[in-house]
Structures are given as C-alpha cells and as structure tokens.
C-alpha cells in the first residue's frame, strides 16, 4: 500500500512537470511568432519607403534624359557623356529596387537602404548639373533667334551679355566632378544666379525690340 502511494505520487509529479514544460514551450512559440510578424511588418514599411525614394529619383532622371536629348548647343560627345551617366544611375536604381523588393533578411535590407542613402549624391549632382546645362542651352537658342532680328547696338549688347553668361554657366558646370558633390553645390547655385540674370537681360532686350518697332 505504501509502495502504491509512492508510485502514484511520482506519477503525479511527473505529470505536473510534463504539463509545465509543454505550457512553457507553447508560450515561447507564441512570443516568437509575434516577433516574426512584427519584423515582417517593419521590413515591409522600410521597403515601401525605399522603393518610393527610388521611384522618385527615377522620375527625375528620366526627365533629365529628355532634357539632354532636347539640348541643341551642347556637343554630341558631351550629350553622350551625360546620357551614359544618367542611364547608368537609372539601371542601378532599377536593380536596387528589385533587390529591395526581394529582400527577406533585415540585415541585407538595412545594407540596401544604406546604399540607397549613400547614392543620393550621385542623383542630386546629375539632376542639378543637367538642369543648369538645359537652362543655359535654352537661353543660347533664344540668343540666336533674337540676335538675328535686331541691329540695335544696345539690344545686341544685352543679348551678347546673356550669351556669355549662359556659355560660362555651361563651361563651369560641365567641368564639375561628381565626387566633389556636395562641396561644389555652391558653384551650381552661383551658375543658377548667372542664368537668372541672363534671362532677365533677354527679357529686357525683347521689350526694347518690341518698343523700337
């Protein structure tokens, strides 16, 4: 009888231990899957944000390609250089977008996001450089048209001044190096100011041409 009691006690104790272990394991599993869900949601948010930035950059770069194609006063060699640089960045961003969308590991995704962040300077430089050259190119085209229509010395001098400013802006910006960005951003801004002045001169010259007719 005593042996039976001891046996039953051991059996009950084992059952309690077993039940406890099973319960603990279940708890662990539940908290583990919750953590996995949270990581997946966070990764999805990070991916969405990164892809939005890539799409934004791609839109601007595609516009830059159109601007390069419309340029008339830039040598075809220079246009080819611009196109190659922009196209290479477009290709890189497209590949990065696919990679980010396919990422399953949060460390890999982190590295890809960092690459995208570090790559921003290339985009910002190309976008600004091409915008300056495109603006200056448009001014030079108008200069040609206006100069052919006037003999007025004052008007011609204003047109010539605008031409010099636009040409200087192109020369200065084309010579800038990507690796020096954003240190050389102030040069881009100075050239923008030059082009704003050139545009003002053309508008004034145009007004004089109209009144003298």
């Amino acid at each position: 009888m005593k042996k039976t009691k001891i046996f039953i006690s051991i059996l009950a104790l084992s059952a309690i231990l077993l039940a406890y272990n099973v319960f603990a394991a279940n708890e662990n599993n539940q908290s583990g899957s919750a953590k996995t869900d949270e990581t997946a949601v966070l990764m999805q948010k990070q991916k969405t944000k990164a892809v939005s930035e890539i799409v934004r950059r791609l839109a601007f770069l595609n516009q830059s390609i159109e601007k390069i194609q419309a340029m008339q006063k830039i040598s075809s060699e220079q246009k080819d250089i611009f196109k190659t640089e922009v196209q290479s960045e477009i290709d890189f961003l497209n590949q990065l977008k696919d990679k980010i969308n396919a990422d399953t590991d949060k460390t890999v995704l982190f590295n890809d996001r960092k690459t995208l962040k570090d790559r921003y300077n290339i985009f910002a430089f190309l976008q600004s450089q091409i915008a300056v050259v495109s603006y200056a190119d448009k001014i030079l085209n108008i200069v040609d048209l206006m100069d052919a229509q006037t003999t007025d010395a004052m008007v011609k001098s204003k047109i010539a001044s605008a031409q010099n400013k636009a040409q200087n802006a192109i020369n200065s910006v084309v010579a800038l190096k990507l690796e020096n960005y954003p240190k050389n951003k102030n040069i881009l801004q100075e050239n923008k100011q030059l082009l704003v002045e050139a545009r003002k001169e053309l508008i004034e010259a145009r007004a004089t041409m109209k009144t003298s007719k």
């Binding site: 944000k49 930035e53 996001r113 995208l116 915008a131 108008i142």
Partner: protein, 118 residues
C-alpha cells in the same frame, strides 16, 4: 315649237364637235417655220446667256483669287519668317520659367529618409 324644229333639223349622224382650245389650222398652213425659228432662237439665246454668265462669274472668281495670291506672294517671305520667329521668341522666353523652376527644384531637392524605422 320653233326650238323643237331647230333641234330636230340637225342630223343625228354628225355629232357636235367641241370647240378647239388652240387652232393650229393657220399654223400648220403658213406660220410654223417662223414660230419654230423664234422658239429655237430664244432657247439658244437663253443658253448662251446662262453659260456666259456663269463663265463670267467663274473667271471673275479666278481673277480674284489670282489677285490675292499675287498680293500674298508679293509680301516678302522674310517678313513672314520674322513674324514666326517673333512668336517663337516670346514662347521660348516664357518657357524659361519652367527651366528655372526645374533647376530650383533640383538644387533644393530633399530625399525621403529611408533609414528611419517608422
């Protein structure tokens, strides 16, 4: 009674003929060449009148268009080109607005913060 006698006096074998609307007896006899000639002459006259009138109008229209063409062609081509270029210049000057705002946007661009974990 007298009336009855009169009616009875007409023979039943020859019924009364209705009066003729046009009497071509004389026409057939003497005047048909003159009348036919007059009708044909009038038709010919009308024909020539209408055809010449329309031809006249047509030639006047051609003459007018030729005059307009010659006036236009006498206007120097260079002045037309100048007018086109004048319009172009104004349009192109206005388009510089877009180029300038594109440049401003490029220089002030701000990226999305892809490293934040929100």
């Amino acid at each position: 009674m007298e009336e009855e006698e009169t009616l009875n006096s007409t023979s039943p074998s020859a019924p009364p003929t209705p009066p003729k609307l046009f009497n071509f007896d004389n026409f057939n006899k003497n005047n048909w060449p003159w009348i036919s000639g007059a009708v044909v002459t009038i038709i010919i006259l009308f024909y020539f009148l209408f055809t010449n009138l329309s031809a006249f109008n047509l030639s006047a229209a051609i003459e007018n268009s030729q005059k307009t063409l010659s006036q236009n062609s006498s206007q120097p081509i260079s002045s037309i080109n100048n007018a086109i270029q004048t319009t172009n210049i104004d349009i192109l000057l206005n388009q510089l607005d877009i180029a300038e705002s594109d440049l401003t946007q490029a220089l002030n661009d701000t990226p999305i913060d892809v490293m934040s974990d929100e």
